[in-house]
């Protein structure tokens, strides 16, 4: 990458795979699981987190020398809450049905551990530009997992992608359904999100044995 130095591009690329916030750092699981039954909701969630984490990291990094360390948690919460209110209001204005579907989970971005985790671990000790890159990278890593889980749950659960039927029509028995394929309604239920993430972790760790835990 010509635009970014090697060190900076590492900030973006690392969280996408070997230091993924969900599968390795175990941050931000709650929302990752609850809203992934549809691909569209997953994408909206990923974009919202990208916005909040990117901007929040910059704000915290700019303020890092004036925040007294005793009350830093409250300051961080206020910054995130303000950004999340913006996201929530924009969604309510332009995508009302989707914001109903996501219900409280937009609000729960505030306590998404990814955000506080990156603030504490990175933004408090680094400059605004590097913090911005770190925020973008981690939000992308989070988004990638969200989109993978959403993709498989929607495809296998309801046979659609972003609402478009891709496997044929289950009622008129066209496409895959003509040879006896059935949707697996179980994929739409919440427990399957956990199992899908478990499988992603399994695949990732069997490809890179350095990530295996001791038990």
């Amino acid at each position: 990458m010509g635009l970014l130095s090697k060190k900076d591009s590492k900030l973006i690329l690392d969280p996408l795979a070997d230091n993924n916030p969900i599968t390795i750092q175990v941050l931000g699981i709650c929302s990752a699981l609850a809203i992934t039954a549809q691909l569209k909701a997953s994408i909206v969630m990923a974009v919202s987190v990208l916005f909040v984490l990117g901007l929040g990291n910059v704000v915290i990094s700019l303020m890092r020398n004036i925040i007294p360390s005793k009350i830093r948690i409250i300051v961080q919460l206020v910054v995130v809450a303000a950004l999340v209110i913006v996201v929530d209001q924009v969604l309510k204005a332009y995508a009302y049905s989707l914001s109903k579907e996501l219900s409280v989970f937009i609000g729960l971005i505030i306590t998404n551990c990814i955000i506080m985790g990156r603030f504490e671990a990175f933004a408090l000790g680094n400059g605004p530009w590097r913090s911005f890159l770190d925020g973008i990278g981690n939000a992308l890593g989070y988004g990638v997992i969200l989109i993978i889980v959403g993709f498989f749950r929607e495809l296998l659960g309801s046979g659609t992608l972003l609402g478009f039927p891709v496997l044929g029509d289950p009622i008129e028995k066209t496409g895959l359904y003509s040879i006896g394929y059935e949707n697996n309604g179980f994929m739409l239920l919440s427990p399957m999100a956990l199992i899908v993430v478990g499988i992603i972790i399994w695949v990732q760790r069997s490809r890179n044995s350095a990530l295996i835990e001791e038990n």
Binding site: D88, S190, N215
Partner: protein, 244 residues
């Protein structure tokens, strides 16, 4: 009384915070390696949820929701501050956690030592904010029910983390495939437990909700009928006046 018991069991089993809505997953996964620490965190969550949900209920009822400011005077009746609820709720939670920490440290040092590091962590636990947000979106009606809701969802969370901690202590002796060790197997076990908890879904029949809606509708209908009869009588009165 019946609605209290119903809400109590519903929040523990049917709408279990961890297994049905995945709230507080981060600390659930991070602090469930040993039963003793899991118990400490679980107790702290019950405690804080029981305090913050009623607090936020009061905030929601008297400041935030549409028309809540009427007690200030009739000119405030159409203010709707609900877009501020995130920031007010999280501020309440953060201050309550600090307050609880100070009070517990002063009056019960032994409890403080056992809760110890978990109390400050709880401010950023999604289960706490989630409790308040669900309280708001499910329209819980009275302060008593809000207290009940906070307490029983706390118990549900406590049960979940206790169960997974016990399983993780035992699973150390079994032969899990290397890439699945640790996080992966915990995810899959939690998934299986969530499937188990789904069987509680049939415990409380949804049958009770439908008649309620119906009764509301009939109430509305009867009100309309009343209105029409009032109008009719008024018309009759007018007609008789004209006659006179």
């Amino acid at each position: 009384m019946l609605e209290h018991t119903e809400l109590f069991f519903k929040s523990i089993f049917v709408d279990n915070m961890v297994f049905a809505t995945f709230l507080g997953m981060c600390s659930y996964l991070a602090v469930s390696k040993k039963v003793s620490t899991a118990v400490g965190l679980g107790a702290a969550v019950i405690f804080v949820l029981t305090v913050t949900v009623p607090m936020n209920w009061l905030l929601d009822q008297y400041i935030l929701r549409e028309g809540a400011l009427t007690w200030l005077g009739p000119e405030y009746a159409d203010y709707d501050l609900s877009f501020l609820s995130f920031i007010l709720f999280i501020a309440t939670i953060a201050t309550m956690v600090q307050l609880v920490e100070i009070v517990v440290e002063k009056f019960s040092p032994s409890l403080y030592n056992s809760l110890g590091i978990f109390l400050p962590l709880i401010a950023v636990n999604c289960a706490i904010l989630g409790g308040s947000l669900f309280m708001q979106s499910r329209d819980i009606e009275t302060l008593g029910l809000a207290l009940n809701y906070g307490f029983s969802s706390g118990i549900g969370w406590f049960l979940a983390i206790l169960a997974i901690a016990a399983i993780r202590e035992k699973i150390r002796y079994s032969n899990v495939p290397a890439p699945l060790r640790g996080l992966g197997i915990t995810f899959i076990i939690t998934g299986l437990m969530a499937i188990g908890f789904m069987s509680f879904g049939g415990m409380l029949t949804g049958g009770e909700e439908a008649p309620k809606e119906e009764s509301v509708q009939t109430a509305v209908l009867s009100e309309e009928i009343n209105n029409t009869t009032i109008e009719a009588t008024e018309a009759v009165v007018e007609a008789s006046e004209i006659n006179e």
